[in-house]
Amino acid sequence: MTPTITLSHINKVYANGTVALQDMNLEIGASQFVSLVGPSGCGKSTALRIIAGLGQMSSGQLEWGQGRTPKLAYVFQEAALMPWATVQDNVRLPLTLAKMPKREAMAAVEESIAMVGLQGFEKCYPRELSGGMKMRVSIARALVTKPDVLLMDEPFAALDEMTRSRLNSDLLSLWGQLRWTVIFVTHNIYESVYLSQRVVVMAARPGRVVADVAIAAPYPRDEEFRTSLDYNHYCRDVSQHLAEASLKGSDRDLQIVTL
């Protein structure tokens, strides 16, 4: 059973006075797929880093349901692979750091590599792989510890559209099987609507939550969903929230994001 995450009244102010997050409240249920959408500077990555324990909050509270810190995995925007290590060794890294015996670790690595469809590339070095494949390695590395919560920080932002939609579908089908709680940060409205059960819309300066849109469409979501009226409706809904936030806010460059 994956835990729930509760963020209450979280504030984050940087030393230079920038308010990255202002009174952020968010409750994420077990096994939910939630996206944080917003323009750059809205604090979505900051929120994710705070949840991961990679950044400190200025004030507020972060609570895990069931009273324990779950097993986290983090996927960065860049694949962040070790260039001197093979695919296999890169995926094994979290287990190596946990001092898992090699034989046991290799079984998990194999399984993880198979999940992202990279069988046959175990002995390759990262430089031999395409951008999409590197991202798959990065995801395999995140999955190898069998995490409860998957935190993804614009993982597919640097990829081309076709690779991105392939990886989106593959990610969804893996989520369907393994049911981690996913917090997915993106600036792509379409991606967020396609993937998630909830889209949390954020605005910048100060970084804050402005809307929480439930995407009620059932899973599995296939290509048909991407062209459906419902999908269009949700996308328009999310982008309207973004536009309203930018009109209300003092921030002018936000309007570029609106549709």
Binding site: G53, L54, Y74, E78, A80, P83, W84, A85, P94, T145
Partner: protein
């Protein structure tokens, strides 16, 4: 300009021929037709033979020697030596001012018995100093990156050690270590050799991908694990770059220290041979010893370059063979 372009074409053609594993008369005719700027027929013959037997990638020794990387500087060297010999002959230069290369070579062979043991002495000092510098340099930079305070406090002194001219402090070191000249020589060579390793490796240890640092933090890696699995591999190319600089410097340091020490007896290195040859006006012998030092320096550099490429060939841009 024209000459060099033709030479380059010639080299490329020779390579192509050797790739086919045959040099026959028609091919060499093609070669000249190519040189005179006509449309190459050799390409035709190449494709034809390719249909007969597909070329296998077989880097033979001859082919490697004939690669432009070796052939071009080789040609320059041969030309320079020839010019030197001609100059000495034409101007009737006395050998105690400037000996010709042939005389130098003859001297090298005739005094091999004395010069070679000296080379071994110098080489021993160089290698011990270099290995000590590599190990201590690596350890010191690891120490530096463990705490910003250690780096702040000690790095300036590493710089001071580096910027003090070795010629100036060598007499002091030799005086202090009066009982062990060999050790004094090693200390001098070490001082010169260790700084590039420290400075390069420190830079490398600090140039780790920030996402990977975060990842290690997320998986609660210990300081030791971060060092072993992340910082050291990241710093490897920098460390090897430092080694390449230090290899030559260790040799220079050893020779300079020997000059200052001017040691006699059986434990005398190449610098001593150069000094003695100078006193006795045996200038060809001086050149021969100088040549040995230079060649040793080049060999050290070549070995370290090979080591660097060997260790980084799978992943670092510096060692990856490009296809175009």
């Amino acid at each position: 300009m024209m000459f060099w372009r033709q030479l380059a074409v010639l080299i490329v053609e020779l390579q192509n021929l050797l790739r086919m594993g045959r040099i026959n008369p028609p091919a060499s005719i093609n070669l000249f037709s190519n040189l005179s700027g006509k449309v190459s027929r050799s390409t035709g013959s190449r494709t034809r033979s390719r249909t007969i037997s597909p070329p296998k990638f077989r880097p033979s020794l001859i082919r490697r020697v004939l690669s432009p990387d070796i052939l071009a500087p080789g040609a320059v060297g041969v030309l320079a030596i020839a010019a030197w010999e001609i100059f000495v002959h034409v101007t009737n230069m006395p050998p105690y001012l400037l000996p010709g290369p042939i005389l130098v070579f003859q001297t090298l062979i005739s005094s091999w018995g004395e010069l070679f043991p000296s080379l071994l002495v110098t080489l021993k000092v160089t290698l011990i100093a270099f290995i000590t510098a590599a190990i201590s340099g690596l350890l010191i930079s690891v120490l530096f990156t463990q705490s910003k305070w250690i780096e702040r406090s000690f790095f300036p002194y590493a710089v001071i050690l580096q910027t003090t001219p070795i010629v100036a402090i060598a007499p002091l070191i030799i005086m202090w270590l009066k009982n062990d000249t060999f050790l004094a020589l090693i200390v001098c060579a070490w001082i010169v050799a260790f700084f590039p390793i420290v400075s390069n490796t420190t830079l490398g240890l600090n140039s780790v991908d920030h996402n990977l640092i975060n990842l290690f933090h997320l998986y609660r890696a210990s300081r030791w694990q971060t060092l072993i699995y992340l910082r050291l591999p990241s710093a490897m190319p920098y460390f090897l770059g430092g080694l390449k600089i230090s290899g030559g410097l260790a040799l220079i340091g050893a020779v300079v220290a020997e000059f200052v020490a001017g040691t006699g007896g059986s434990q005398s290195g190449l610098a001593y041979q150069i000094l003695m040859a100078g006193y006795n006006l045996q200038i060809p012998r001086m050149f021969a010893a100088l040549f040995m030092i230079t060649l040793t320096g080049v060999l050290i550099f070549a070995c370290l370059t090979w080591l660097s490429n060997f260790l980084l060939k799978e992943w670092h841009e510096s060692a990856i063979k490009r296809e175009n």
